[in-house]
């Protein structure tokens, strides 16, 4: 509903994507130089000026499918390649991680602190490249400019828009299950202890006043939680202590990233079918959105193309294959069915943009599910 949601959604999901890729690159023992190049290329593409200009234009949020296409493109902005199953898992993890952060966000304005935590970490990834650092800093300043003075009501609308976007997604993530921040049914654990948001008083007090405004009675009541005062407010400046830990990197080499992709409950099956039909009808608008957005993504072509390598989000290749075959139908990120009849010109432009990426090692998918956008465009 808020027209200012997309930049926050994109940057935070992007940040999570980088955390996961960084962890997998190290887990897969990819040489440090190569790994660094991969992350730098992705970050450079993400913070491309033209792309961000498009992103920051006030607009509605599009569907998860459209967004997934953008991240697919982004993940392949380097020499790294991901199979369909790994890309699915990556998107699942990114989505659930940011959903968790939005749900637990103490007050709506703290969405900015979460974003800043991601940006701080991204700057750390590229601290050796001043040009890219500069791009990230520029974006930082843009965020402070656009969001710094928004009233609380507008932030609440942004948060509600994000929660509507994430509704009915209950993928279980093992790192969340282990840390007991997610229940076995996929819902997040909401703590009833800890600090209240900045600006909120600890519940438990009733104060009564007379007509002159003088306090005449004070009564305490048991509210049931164990909340305490917030110690300090996080910093909303370019540099500073954010205080909030949501949005920081929670992965490390010793904590593998696994997801259980559990099928949806029987009740939601009906709803998702209806939604996917509605989403197909959106195809034309979404194509326009994708063309605009990805048109701004510059491809960094190296003079001597380095050999690509495949990153696996799973522990073994067999696991990856198995995941591809057993992914529930409702959770497949089947890309939009393109009725190319009307918007020929747009589609040609999109073909050209997508055609700039040559995917070297992508094996032909034997399963029909999840034909990616590129393959469909090739068939037109």
């Amino acid at each position: 509903m808020s027209m200012r949601t997309l930049p926050l959604l994109f940057l935070n999901l992007g940040g999570e994507m980088l955390y996961i890729l960084d962890q997998r690159l190290r887990a897969q023992a990819v040489p440090a130089e190569k790994a660094h190049k991969v992350l730098s290329d992705i970050i450079s593409t993400m913070f491309n000026k033209k792309f961000l200009e498009e992103l920051f234009k006030p607009q509605d949020l599009y569907t998860k499918k459209a967004l997934r296409t953008v991240y697919d493109r982004l993940a392949h902005a380097s020499i790294m390649r991901l199979n369909q199953a790994s890309m699915d898992k990556l998107f699942d993890l990114m989505t659930m991680a940011f959903k968790y952060q939005v749900v637990l966000c103490p007050r709506p304005k703290d969405l900015l602190l979460i974003t800043f935590n991601h940006l701080d970490a991204i700057k750390d990834f590229v601290r050796d490249s001043p040009t890219i650092m500069n791009q990230v800093d520029e974006t930082f300043r843009k965020i402070i400019e656009v969001y710094g003075r928004l009233p609380a009501g507008e932030f609440q609308l942004i948060r509600q828009t994000l929660l509507i976007f994430f509704r009915d997604i209950h993928i279980r993530v093992s790192i969340f299950l282990k840390d007991k921040v997610q229940n076995a049914n996929g819902r997040f654990v909401l703590p009833i202890s800890g600090p209240v948001p900045w600006g909120t008083d600890v519940p438990g007090l009733i104060r009564m006043f007379n007509n002159k405004g003088e306090e005449v009675k004070r009564v305490e009541f048991k509210h049931g939680g164990h909340f305490e005062r917030a110690q300090s407010e996080g910093s909303f400046d370019l540099y500073g202590d954010r205080v909030l830990t949501l949005g920081k990197n929670m992965y490390s080499i010793s904590r593998p990233v696994e997801t259980h992709v559990s099928g949806p409950s029987k009740n939601s099956a009906l709803n998702t079918t209806k939604e996917s039909i509605a989403s197909d009808l959106l195809a034309k608008e979404e194509l326009n959105f994708l063309a605009r957005l990805m048109g701004g993504m510059e491809v960094t072509k190296t003079s001597a193309p380095e050999p690509g390598f495949r990153l696996n989000l799973f522990t073994t290749d067999e696991e990856e294959e198995h995941a591809a075959l057993t992914r529930p139908e409702e959770l497949s990120y089947q890309v939009i069915n393109i009725q190319a009849a009307q918007d020929q010109q747009r589609n040609e432009e999109l073909t050209r943009i997508m055609g700039e990426f040559e995917i070297h090692d992508q094996p032909q998918q034997s399963t029909s599910k999840g034909d990616d956008l590129l393959a469909m465009m090739d068939e037109l």
């Binding site: 819902r187 009733i206 048991k222 509210h223």
Partner: protein
């Protein structure tokens, strides 16, 4: 009834049966008995020791959880996202809640069995063909009940069972500034008027005939400058109050009105730098829930603050009132629901509040909470990521 092990003094409890209007009084120590009892309530006011499962925190009358009503999918994280309409058929209750682009209407028995279901979509217009609904609310007017839906496109008014759309009002997109989202939000009925808020702060007043579709836009109120969040009206009990409508917005500003062919602004109550997502009005008393977890009670005619409650640890998302008992229900993102008793001190005339009951809805951010009857002996709750309507009734 007397077989319970722990019967304590019935001191500050109020009965779940119909009390004598108006409120009981300052000390709240008297218990008013009434011979006509709703079938579920015991004949004595019993205060049982908290059982470990109940997780309630007060010494007042307890509520226990009843069978939940299953939902097809989870509700949207919108404030005031539940409307309840008791149906003539005994025990049947109708619920309405917003999922996003659609509203689900369902009626259920006390055992949680769904009896009927209907889904209503947001009416499409120009622009993004995936408009979201912001609120659904049953407006009880003197001669009819209408279901009002507000969305990113406009206002849809249906017959109470959702079968027929009676009226459609498209929002004027020209009035919204370029980067501003367009939507309607905040619904209330006062007499034969339906008031609906919009994102520009404008409140639209519709004049509704006793029957038929000839609903007319009677007035546009332009006091608020930021999006309207909620509107409340005095429950139709023949009250002789001057102030009978209050509107709230994202800045926390409250405007108090007298309804009529021309609405008259009586008072403005400034905000506290936090939105006021939910508001209730009862016997000249305004109960407002804020984004900082506070509930503030004001005298409607003067705007004077009488009670300030540090009620919740997160933003309040829903308030409801049981008019025959003066009970206030609050639900918030901190996963708690609380019930409060409003009363007037007979000596000072000031409003007083007492905490009656609290319940933790485990791991659920509460976005909708409504009493299911005017005595407040039962209530329903919905939350984000929760695919059911939770129901509680007093024991």
């Amino acid at each position: 009834m007397r077989g319970l092990t722990d019967l304590t003094e019935a001191a500050p409890a109020s009965p779940c049966c119909k009390p004598r209007p108006p409120c009981v009084g300052g000390t709240l120590a008297r218990v008013v008995w009434n011979r006509r009892l709703p079938p579920r309530c015991p004949s004595a006011v019993l205060l049982r020791k908290s059982t470990p499962q109940a997780r309630s925190v007060s010494t007042h009358r307890m509520y226990r959880r009843e069978q939940p009503v299953p939902l097809r999918s989870c509700p949207a994280a919108l404030c005031n996202n539940l409307s309840v309409l008791p149906l003539p058929a005994p025990g049947l209750t109708q619920f309405a809640l917003v999922h996003g682009p659609s509203v689900q209407l369902l009626s259920a028995t006390p055992d949680g069995l769904p009896v009927s279901q209907r889904q209503l979509q947001a009416k499409e217009g120009t622009g993004l063909s995936y408009p979201l609904i912001t609120q659904a609310y049953w407006c009880v007017l003197p001669f009819r009940v209408l279901l009002v839906l507000t969305s990113q496109r406009g206002i849809q008014i249906y017959e109470s069972d959702g079968s027929v759309m009676v009226y459609w009002h498209a929002l004027d997109s020209g009035h919204a500034p370029p980067a501003q989202s367009l939507f309607a939000r905040g619904i209330a009925a006062s007499g034969h008027y339906i008031c609906v808020g919009t994102c520009s702060g404008r409140v639209l007043v519709f004049d509704v005939p006793a029957k038929g579709p000839n609903i007319v836009l009677s007035e546009e109120l332009d006091e608020h400058q930021v999006p309207v969040t909620d509107i409340a009206a005095e429950p139709a009990q023949g009250q002789d109050c001057v102030a009978d409508v209050v509107t709230a917005d994202d800045s926390g500003l409250l405007c108090v009105w007298k309804s009529g062919p021309e609405f008259k602004l009586l008072t403005r109550i400034s905000g506290f730098e936090t939105p006021c997502p939910s508001i209730q009005l009862w016997q000249g008393t305004i109960a407002a829930g804020y984004g900082d977890g506070q509930i503030r009670i004001f005298e409607a005619s003067s705007g004077a603050l009488h009670v300030q409650i540090n009620a919740h640890g997160r933003a309040i998302c829903a308030l409801d009132l049981a008019p025959e008992a003066g009970k206030l229900l609050s639900g918030a993102e901190d996963s708690f629901v609380h019930i409060w008793k409003l009363s007037r001190n007979p000596d000072s005339g000031c409003i007083e509040v007492e905490h009656c009951y609290g319940e933790c809805v485990t791991d659920t951010q509460v976005y909708g909470a409504r009493f299911c009857d005017p005595q407040g002996s039962s209530f329903a709750v919905i939350g984000y990521d929760l695919a059911e309507i939770l129901r509680y009734s007093c024991v």
